[in-house]
Amino acid sequence: MVGIVTYGSYIPIYRIKTAEIARIWGDDPQHPEKSLGIMSKSVPGYDEDAATIAVEALRNALKRKNIPSEKIGAIFVGSESHPYAVKPTASLIAEVMGAYKAHAADLEFACKAGTAAMQNVYAMVKAGMIEYGVAIGTDTSQGQPGDALDYSASAGGTAFIIGKEDVIAEINHTVSYVTDTPDFWRREGQRYPSHGGRFTGEPAYFKHIITAAKMLMDAVGTEAKDYDYAVFHQPNGKFPFRVGKRLGFTKEQIKQGLLAPYIGNTYSGATPTGLSAVLDVAKPGDRILAVSFGSGAGSDAFDILVTDEIENFNRDAAPKVWDQVNRAKYIDYAQYLKFRRMIVEVIP
């Protein structure tokens, strides 16, 4: 049985309310909440980036169950905000863990690089190449001030250690669906991404998630009602409910893993952190569907079964996702610009 052995998440403490962002740009303060279903978003502190978030998430995972570093055979870090364009984040993680013999690499696939990391580690464990591997989805995503993304692009991440021993959540099956769909992109050297507005919806998010979810459920012979929880990529607070409804899922199945209304879109961190929030409360026998979406575009879908081992697992050893969501310190737009280094201190 291959699956999740331990997991941990990290969400920065800072939040900005979308009404505050609307105030700056002359938008109706209620507009982002009404149209996007996002009330606030997480903001990385001045000294935080995708790598520090990855480290915090991994530390939380290791607090719950320590895996000796020499047993870690692979480290994949998925992000679209790796601190360096050239120089891996995965090597930094290897150094932090002391996992010097690991196969380490960074991944990028817009918002689905985190689940791509999970699939890579899952495959290597299943193939018997490695005993354990680390898969991390982390981002401090960029939104151009004044653009629609200003309301949603946020920060957070989750780390999974995947192996064969003491599995708390079995990855029963996983599939992917990919097409060349240019709904959202950022070219080398550009500071902020561009997007195709409404084109990011139907032909991108909905088409890929629905196709991948159906492929997965067809392959394992399940229906929406067979799942206790469903986690969908969450670029805003509304799309997951809409895609869920079209696939036959209820709001109740989706709510536990839907964080976007409070922390925004954590990009590569989004689906992994939603899954993490579900594992925080899951019971043995629970079945979870998780489907990511990355622009450009593709989806990874997972059929996950929670095992009896979760009863022996020390979930309380690290902060749970919803506790981190609720641990918030609100900042104004000026502080936000400072933390995101959009205004800079001039040292004479």
Binding site: D28, H31, G197, R198, F199, E202, P203
Partner: protein, 388 residues
């Protein structure tokens, strides 16, 4: 001048066609019209295509040749020209096609309209559409198209005491009809509250007072009326095709609450068709903004100046009431692919007069009027159609 009839009609669904290009849409609507007329592409002697801005929207000009080519007519050497009159490009193409058949120069003419608008972000679309206004004297000074429409609405509300609630009735009616039209961009009903709670675009115009950005195409096949019955049992006669222009910029005009071009085109149309407003059973009115429809209903003689909204309040504008208004859903709910709109309005009237409009069928419709405008009611084109 010969009498002219419509022997075939077709259109695509209007909306966001992510997977269809300009040519796909044009060919789809054109083929539907040819099939409807029971003729082959080779039977066409000329094509007139309405299109406002394919050059800006998708980087494709020379639309006439493109459509003729992809309709399979490249080797037949027939004339195919693109006609442009901003948002009235579709009706302008029909006017040209009408003249071509009426004059005796051609017998079988295909009239089309197409626009592919959703490939670009909203701000670029807004700027391209602003090309229908005076770029130097209106747009460079900061006016967008909705801003100009808002000035008309403000003045109208000031002069005639119409409230936002009363203006909101027009999109409510449009959506009720759109919900019954499978080709409509929006097929859901809305309430006055939906309109009043929608975001402001340019006060007092809210999002729901403005027509959407749509992709779509529509097509008609014209023939001389005396041979029309050879092709179809239910040809529709074009009793009038008239076209008038006003000053292009709002500030040059004597009034913001009436459109001289609509008044003029209307007068000529009634004279040409030997009809009066009371003879019209069904109207398709250009409602790019609610205010444009309100002014047009008055300028075409269906209500006194300053009172069109009262017809809405009295419930007279529903498809099954006294003055069936925009049974297609209008530009607001059916959608507004600018180059196609004027042709699509006539497709709707053809369907209605043939008693083929399904759930939204207007009872006993024999005579219909279509009104299409370019710019801020700068150019107005009116067609009157009737059962033969």
């Amino acid at each position: 001048m010969r009498e002219v009839a419509i022997i075939g009609a077709g259109e695509t669904k209007y909306g966001e066609h992510w997977e269809k290009s300009l040519r796909d849409l044009a060919v789809e609507a054109g083929l539907e019209a040819l099939e409807d007329a029971g003729i082959c592409a080779e039977d066409i002697q000329a094509i007139f295509g309405g299109n406002m801005s394919a050059g800006s929207f998708v980087g494709q000009d020379h639309v006439g040749a493109l459509i003729a080519d992809f309709a399979g007519l490249a080797e037949h050497g027939i004339p195919a020209m693109r006609i442009e009159s901003a948002c009235a490009s579709g009706a302008a193409a029909l006017h040209a096609g009408f003249m071509a058949v009426a004059s005796g120069m051609y017998d079988i003419v295909l009239v089309g309209g197409v626009e592919k608008m959703t490939d670009l972000p909203g701000d670029m679309v807004t700027d391209i559409l602003a090309g229908a206004a005076d770029r130097e004297w209106e747009v460079f000074l900061g006016a967008t198209f909705p801003a100009l429409g808002a000035m008309m609405a403000r003045r109208y509300m000031y002069e005639f005491g119409m409230t936002e609630e009363q203006m909101a009735l027009f999109p409510v009616i449009a959506h009720k009809h759109g919900a019954m039209n499978p080709d409509a961009h929006f097929q859901r009903e809305i309430t006055i509250e939906t309109v009043l709670n929608s975001p402001i675009v340019a006060e007092p115009l809210r999002l729901m007072n403005c027509s959407p950005v749509s992709d779509g195409a529509a097509a008609l096949v014209l023939a001389p009326a005396d041979i029309a019955k050879k092709y179809t049992d239910s040809p529709i006669k074009i009793s009038a095709s008239t076209y008038a222009n006003d000053y292009i910029s709002l500030h040059s005009r004597e009034s913001l609450v009436k459109s001289l071009s609509t008044i003029e085109a209307g007068k000529k149309a009634y004279k040409m068709a030997k009809k009066e407003p009371k003879d019209i059973d069904i109207i398709e009115i250009h409602d790019a903004f609610s205010i444009i429809a309100i002014e047009a209903i008055e300028d075409l003689g269906f209500a006194k100046k300053g009172e069109a909204w009262k017809l809405a309040e009295e419930g007279q504008l529903y498809y099954d009431s006294d003055l069936p208004y925009n049974p297609s859903g209008g530009l607001k709910a059916k959608g507004h692919p600018v180059g196609a709109t004027g042709v699509g309005q006539v497709v709707e009237i053809v369907m209605q007069l043939r008693n083929e409009a399904g759930k939204r069928q207007v009872p006993d419709a024999k005579v219909g009027l279509a009104h299409n405008v370019g710019g801020t009611m700068t150019s107005s084109i009116v067609h009157i159609l009737e059962v033969m």
